[in-house]
Symmetry: C2
Subunit: 249 residues, 2 copies
């Protein structure tokens, strides 16, 4: 177990080999064993394998080549639609169409997604999370035909790796763990915690390519810029509203 977890790397190049139906079912079933709020299973998984459908998804995920390369694409959605329908058919009045239940449903969906990823990796496959699932949620809703009460939270591609990358660096454990209470970071703490990352050969290469003085500037000026952050942030809030997760009356 721990070996699989410790060896995780995102895979961005895939072999042209389909995922066996039996394997996929076992992977998805492992997903459903994750903890879920009140055993309500407030999520849905949309499996996309059809090439035409993956072509539609490609621009949503900024045309990253792995979307077309990987044979399986999974979109994990927060879903209160099924539960609401069940309640309405059973003489019960559901009220899960609010922000708290978006969060509960998103938690459900994400625990499922991680179980799915680890089970796929244990079977020799690779995965990569696509952050773009929330960026362009409105487009995903159209392409995947998601009804009111359903919103994308995460997406992954899955398949057999055609690359063997090394592990990505991580901050030292002390950088992300606090004991008893949160100890806020002093300037010295920040220097120490980020020292290893900043001294990597890879980081120096990134600075040169991006013509920047610090790695932080690569994030703020190039990778995740203020104007994009604000645009996609407002977009997702709008979609939360229009999909029916913001009824607070």
């Amino acid at each position: 177990m721990r070996n699989i977890i410790m060896q995780h790397r995102s895979i961005r190049q895939y072999k042209n080999i389909p995922v066996d139906e039996k394997d996929l079912n076992e992977i998805l079933e492992a997903g459903t064993r994750a903890s879920t709020t009140g055993n309500m299973q407030l999520y849905s998984i949309v499996v996309t394998r059809d090439e035409g459908k993956r072509k539609e998804l490609s621009p949503v995920h900024f045309d990253q080549p792995m979307v077309m390369q990987a044979p399986v694409h999974l979109t994990f959605c927060a879903d209160i639609n099924r539960f609401h329908k069940w309640c309405e058919q059973r003489d019960a009045e559901p009220a899960y169409d609010n922000f708290l239940w978006y969060i509960n449903a998103a938690i459900d969906a994400l625990l499922v997604s991680q179980n799915v990823c680890l089970t796929a990796e244990a079977k020799g496959m690779g995965i990569c999370y696509l952050g773009t699932a929330t960026y362009n949620a409105d487009q995903l809703i159209k392409i995947l035909n998601l009804p009111n009460g359903v919103i994308p939270v995460a997406a992954i591609v899955m398949g057999y790796p055609d690359e063997d990358p090394g592990l990505t660096d991580r901050l030292p454990l002390e950088g992300v763990v606090h004991y008893e209470t949160y100890k806020d970071y002093t300037d010295e703490d920040i220097d120490r915690i980020f020292a290893e990352k900043e001294s990597l050969e890879e980081t120096k290469q990134i600075l040169k390519e991006n013509n920047k003085e610090t790695l932080a500037q690569v994030y703020t000026d190039n990778r995740y810029k203020k104007e994009d952050n604000l645009y996609f942030s407002k977009q997702y809030l709008k979609v939360l509203q229009s999909q029916g997760f913001m009824n607070h009356m």
Copy 2:
């Protein structure tokens, strides 16, 4: 791997045995190997072991006995504070204090939490997610001293099980998986998908105890009521604002 995942049950009774320091470190380290948005690790884990501190946490989690029984309590937080501090110290202007980045950070935190849970289970421990982490986020912020840019997303208790419950029922796979596009549920679909759950002996017992006609009514009238949902929903949105995740200018 799949065995551990398939055997997961939430554990609510714990033995009075501490968790070894080395085990805890290995579990937390396994957490940090999870996928993370742009390798930014936008989360913090607060470890609570001190009995006095756990007593403070107990009412936040509605005084469920497992909070005092389990030797380790972990609060998983979305954290943009550390990253912002790093940017500011490196002549970069961060703009991650908005809703999109709350979601990205929450995703990061939840993938970490599931890695942590599975690694603990592989070591013979048990865990239980506490949904209350979002309900009473404001109280957690005070008790755990969380600064601006940090907000609780999930909490778990962890320790050695003092019970051996069976697996909890789940909806059949066809109830939560869609192929190519989302097929909305007909009345017949809902009947079929929920049939097994509704026919369980346990469900009949719950109906009798709660004096209800349908299991859905137990959810809407007793477990997760409209007034509570709305109250905690508004509360969490307020906390998102006050912790600095809603700056959209």
